[in-house]
Amino acid sequence: MKKILEVRWHGRGGQGAWTASELLARAAVHEEKYIQSFPEFGPERMGAPVAAFTRISNEPIRLHCAVYNPDVVVVLDPTLLKTVPVTEGLSESGKLIINSKEDPAEVRKAFKEAKFEIWTVPATEVAIKILGMPITSTAMLGAVARATGAVSLESIQKTVKERFKGDVADKNFAVIKEAYEEARSG
């Protein structure tokens, strides 16, 4: 059995892929897990495709290299599907989690041969409704929590309260909770 859960986040510069990867890791620390969170080490430009990574394990993590075979791939921005090979290295037993209004079965048409699970969540809509802005990082974190069960909502709530203050923390947690509930697989 693979001991380390490896998550790869795809977004565009400024959308918060690294923030989301870090929030997931920090939530896992609240559950006494070992973690790593790091961005793709390249140029960071607003709007350009970026990636970030999270590792979670019950044992200390000694690997110090990129994630080559993620168990989970998260796509913050669906426009990336056309330009970035987001499923590269994703195992058959893995999960692809996409920000999309579509039904997972509809999304699957683009990945005909794929055996991995597909999850969708209308992250942009949830974010606009609650935050008033299309910032999808926290919504996608909620969907990841639901799809993987890697961390509890309680741990995420603690982490969000450490990271953000007052109203921003409350609203972001509301986003996470709604995305958690709305995430669907197929």
């Binding site: 870090e22 890791a25 920090r26 620390v29 006494e32 070992y34 973690i35 790593q36 969170s37 790091f38 961005p39 080490f41 200390p60 993590i61 000694r62 690997l63 110090h64 290299c65 990129a66 080559y68």
Partner: protein, 410 residues
């Protein structure tokens, strides 16, 4: 090994781990150049200063050359002193690195190991510190964020030890450690404060024939860093070498003492062997890639391959005898270098490990692998290939290509 005290579990990147350790280490002066190639280290530390969480004097200078000069002066006046840099910043300090070690000023510096231009690159490799290996600074390299934190705290005790009095670099691989968040167990503030203590000074004879602590003090005037022409310069250099020798045992003592409090050990503080005792083939490396190597070793061991690792934690002073004793029973050794010594037939670590093995009658076969320059990633499968190469070398009992390159397009 159990910890003697309750520790706080934090999630920090390597840079933050440095800043947190410095915050707890009762540092008097931090001088730094706050612009690229600077890291989060001084940014985070400047927040501690602004928030009144530390009483440190924080000096922003106009260049790294000036930053280290300010640290040198503060250190000679008796202050516990810290700075941080990387890449081109360390290169600009080059002149003052020698002045600092020659003045025996125990400045502690964190370096987020990064490449040197050209072509322009600020990503992870060890070219910056390896280029400074002869500057008279102690060099300790960490494998993960936890060790970064632990090593910074230990560095103050090592550098300031009266038998040593040498400036000390703690290296953390750029990005792989500096920008990656990992779990860090932090000691309570008061434990760190107790551990680092206050700076101790050996006594020296002043101009006026009085005995006083070795530091700049108007009440006891003395000259530090004076002119020493052919009549004395050589003796000063010989003393620095003696201090380096003393550092070998001081680093071990400080590491042991710290381990009793924290419950954490990194080999003997100088070298960390991993599954090396019965190993037939071994990798030697410095820094964070050692963690990836360990993971690969665990896999190889389940397949019956007797693979091992020797991680060099302390590169200056080089534990020559320790390296020899750890490796001489191994049949073939692959030394990994994350920097180049152009025209030198191999990297710095390779040269030094081969040098250490020369006096062994057993002479294991040695081969060099240059890897990860300019931030190129080194994967577990690439490490596995190195072990496969070593098996081949053992079979043939011969090294065909002494210097190889990992993950390079050719």
């Amino acid at each position: 090994m159990k910890s003697a005290v309750e520790q706080k579990i934090l999630a920090l990147n390597g840079d933050e781990a440095v800043a947190y350790a410095v915050k707890q280490s009762d540092v008097d002066v931090v001088a730094a150049y706050p612009i690229t190639p600077q890291t989060i280290i001084v940014e985070r530390f400047s927040e501690y200063v602004a928030n009144g969480e530390v009483e440190t004097a924080f000096v922003c200078t106009e260049s790294e050359h000036s930053a280290l000069t300010a640290c040198l002066a503060a250190s000679l006046a008796g202050a516990r002193t810290f700075t941080a840099s990387a890449s081109a910043g360390l290169a600009l300090m080059h002149e003052i690195l020698f002045v600092t070690s020659g003045c025996r000023a125990p400045v502690v510096m964190a370096i987020a190991n990064r490449a040197l231009s050209a072509p322009i690159n600020i990503h992870g490799d060890q070219s910056d510190t390896m280029a400074q290996r002869d500057s008279g600074w102690i060099q300790i390299y960490a494998e993960n964020a936890q060790e970064v934190y632990d090593s910074i705290i230990q560095a103050f005790r090592i550098a300031e030890h009266p038998d040593v009095l040498l400036p000390t670099i703690v290296g953390l691989d750029g990005f792989t450690l500096s920008h990656s968040v990992e779990n860090v167990n932090a000691l309570p503030d008061e434990e760190v404060k107790k551990f680092v203590g206050t700076r101790r000074f050996p006594n020296a004879l002043t101009h006026e024939g009085k005995t006083a602590p070795l530091k700049l003090d108007p009440d006891y005037p003395m000259t530090l860093g004076p002119l020493a022409f052919p009549n004395y310069y050589f003796e000063f250099k010989r003393q620095q070498e003696e201090a380096m020798k003393n550092a070998l045992s001081v680093i071990k003592q400080v590491h042991d003492e710290y381990a009793r409090i924290s419950g954490r050990r990194y080999g003997d503080g100088l070298l960390e062997p991993y599954k090396l005792e019965d190993a037939e083939i071994a990798i030697v490396c410095v820094g964070s890639t050692a963690g990836t190597v360990k993971t690969v070793i665990d896999d190889l061991r389940t397949e019956g391959v007797k693979a091992g690792l020797l991680r060099i934690r302390t590169f200056r002073p080089l534990p020559v005898q320790g390296i020899r004793e750890a490796l001489e029973h191994v049949k073939a050794v692959a030394v990994m270098d994350r920097s180049m010594s152009f025209g030198g037939q191999g990297g710095a670590v390779f040269h030094e490990v081969r040098h250490a093995l020369y006096d062994s009658s057993k002479h294991p076969l040695t081969v060099n692998y240059i890897y990860g320059l300019g931030g190129r990633d080194t994967s577990p499968s690439q490490i596995r290939e190195i072990y496969t190469d070593l098996q081949e070398i053992v079979k043939k009992n011969r090294v065909e290509e002494p210097v190889k390159y990992v993950g390079l397009r050719e």
